[in-house]
Symmetry: C2
Subunit: 467 residues, 2 copies
Amino acid sequence: MNSEQIQELKAHIGNAIVFDDSETLRSRRFDRWCIKHYRDWRGQNVEAPACVVRPQCAEDVQKTVNFARDRQIAIIPFGLGSGVCGGVEADSSQLMLDMSDMNKMGDINEIDLLATFEAGTNGLVAEEAVAAKGLTIAHWPQSIGISSVGGWVSTRASGQFSTAYGNIEDIVYSVEVVLPNGDLVTLGKAPRAASGPDLRHLIMGAEGTLGIITKVTLSLRRQPEHRETSAYYAPSMEAGFVAQRQLVQSGWQPPVMRQYDASEVARNFPDYVHDDSALILLVHEGPRSRVVAETQATSELMQSLGLTPADHKVTEKWLENRNHVPEWTDLLKQGLIADTIEVSASWTKIDEVYENVVAALGTVPSIVNASAHSSHVYRSGINLYFTFACMPEDAADMESLYFECWDKALEATAAAGGGIAHHHGSGRLRKPYIHHDLGEGGIEIFKTVKKALDPDGLMNPGNLMPD
Amino acid sequence: MNSEQIQELKAHIGNAIVFDDSETLRSRRFDRWCIKHYRDWRGQNVEAPACVVRPQCAEDVQKTVNFARDRQIAIIPFGLGSGVCGGVEADSSQLMLDMSDMNKMGDINEIDLLATFEAGTNGLVAEEAVAAKGLTIAHWPQSIGISSVGGWVSTRASGQFSTAYGNIEDIVYSVEVVLPNGDLVTLGKAPRAASGPDLRHLIMGAEGTLGIITKVTLSLRRQPEHRETSAYYAPSMEAGFVAQRQLVQSGWQPPVMRQYDASEVARNFPDYVHDDSALILLVHEGPRSRVVAETQATSELMQSLGLTPADHKVTEKWLENRNHVPEWTDLLKQGLIADTIEVSASWTKIDEVYENVVAALGTVPSIVNASAHSSHVYRSGINLYFTFACMPEDAADMESLYFECWDKALEATAAAGGGIAHHHGSGRLRKPYIHHDLGEGGIEIFKTVKKALDPDGLMNPGNLMPD
């Protein structure tokens, strides 16, 4: 995209929403992917887009997509920039669509529990708007204060309360999207349908490669009547997984159930360390009588399995601090390169995933932390959220150590039969490993669909799927 | 497909699994789509496939798909033939893949609650196999005794217990499918993933147009500790919908909640008629203490909203008889052409859908029944299951009356803002109305994907999407 084309675009869709000043371009060089912050901190060049468009409405998006397609210019979508897997990376030939000005909210339907948000709406702003009416989206990613509703959908996000309330695909009612051909399409009309494949799922998780999400309608919940918290010590991660499995498979649904290994207990809840125990935090919510029944049943089950009660204040403490997002540069300045890696596996595989990944990370030179907690429970399995940190003598080694940690963790996960991406999306970071989840056959299906919907390959090229 | 090609196919994949005897061909002329039974009963010619292949394994399916593609022969999949929307219709140039011999079951994993079934496995056989281990698929379509696991996935089926346990898309863990290019692909590896779009959703609901499902792994549940039933009279359908909405939006999840209008109460539960009241049947299941809490809360809520308790034996009666499937010819011989039409809508639209569809059906000449019940509840809305019956003087008029009923019902549903297909699939019957759900944009996406994956248009041509 050359400067002549930028001027042409300004004339086409309006000066006011096309930016090519260096400050704007610099601010859109990357999202929250750790490695970009590292490179920037090291003074390495991190490329910026040719220009940034801030659409005000779906028509602006359509016009931009059509303009870019006519000139074979690639489009990189940018929500609120909370991504951590390298899904957003524009070079100086490319156009960035910054969705942050598309943040209007539609009416909140208090009968149907439906609310519509433009894609760039901040998650917490959306939640607070429905909360004012006694409702909740019930989608609480740690990034809620810095992520967008469109980004949630685009990356197949999960929230902290997913064990009862589901992940974003269980909350989305409909999605409006601008396709690579410029068409504006709304997918999802009814509470449930059997009118062919559920096409919303082509857009959820596509990370901008199949179109630009412009608007999302979410199916809300009423705020629960009652909430209680509880906490238990498990003698080992394995024993804790057994307890979580039994609880969920018995039909109980605490929206939050998180299990920290001893290393994470020491780091996150130092006042609650208990030998080498793992710590499970639970939030129970819903009608009061059901919450009472659930806390009672949970207590009985946990203790019958050899777990012991912990002070539930630790769960309250977690609730208070749960949406803090660290700044990478603060860690870098301390000499640390760190990240989190979320994966999932069925129950019979999760112990091996936990042990093997922690062991694999432990072989990386200069590693100072390799730990995990679980945070999303299913009938058939659970996720794990690993945290690693390396502290090399020479900061120049950080990048290769970073990728070595990711490689060791994802290869160990796959070797133990786990899935390599639970809820942060895949981006460029997991691209080399995505065959473990999809198989060559699945990748081929995606590529065939991509080629059909985006024949020129202009939507977020280089993201998600191997070349 | 000519007889030479049939011989060639026999030589290619084995005599024993290729059938072109007239008895076999006749038996595969149609599934349970009412109108085909009508035509057959009237002595009209109903076309049969050129030959029927009964694959024994995925490799047989691949070989058949490759053979057919090389010769540009269309393939029509046939599960166990319980479809009611015209998704299966082969002409004498086409090859039918009868999946009924692919009915082997894999191991049942009692830790992960996973069980794998070949696509042709009978639903009730599958359920009974896991029930023997104290587990349940928890998917109970009325057709469970005559439908296949692959058919459930292919048509996006719902079961009677869906309000708590979800529809088939909430139960499928992974799907194995033979693509139009002959590739065998398994989609779905982990309890949950964010590794690109969830490609399982391309296969679920595709009704054979994008590939042949060969195997399905389902995520099971443990059988509930306790079950109770209850029943309530609502002074009107509207009042009943309000009560169902309030119950579900309060966070309660009875797996079964069905609301019959006065006409259906009189027909199905004549001993339980109460003025012109609608009747709501509920099944409460799960851990005992939760069931007790739920039945108590349900009773309080229902009565606070002006509903009155009915004898819960009516729910027991429904439980006993719920899987009966009528034979169309029995009705035809009584002079009746009848069918059911399931749709869905958000809460604010459901009253209008109910009233307008019943009224619209009432304008069809010779109509003797236009009634409805609801059976699947969501946070944002509910389904309706209409039943119509016409009894014309001249049986020759039945076909046009049948299509008039469908047309009036689906157009009235769409005009009131409802979705035209809840869970039977769409087939040829809903094809002319599918734009109401997908929009022209959605249809275009599907066609683009179809063209990419099945460039020769050989997989179940003519089904699902408008030409």
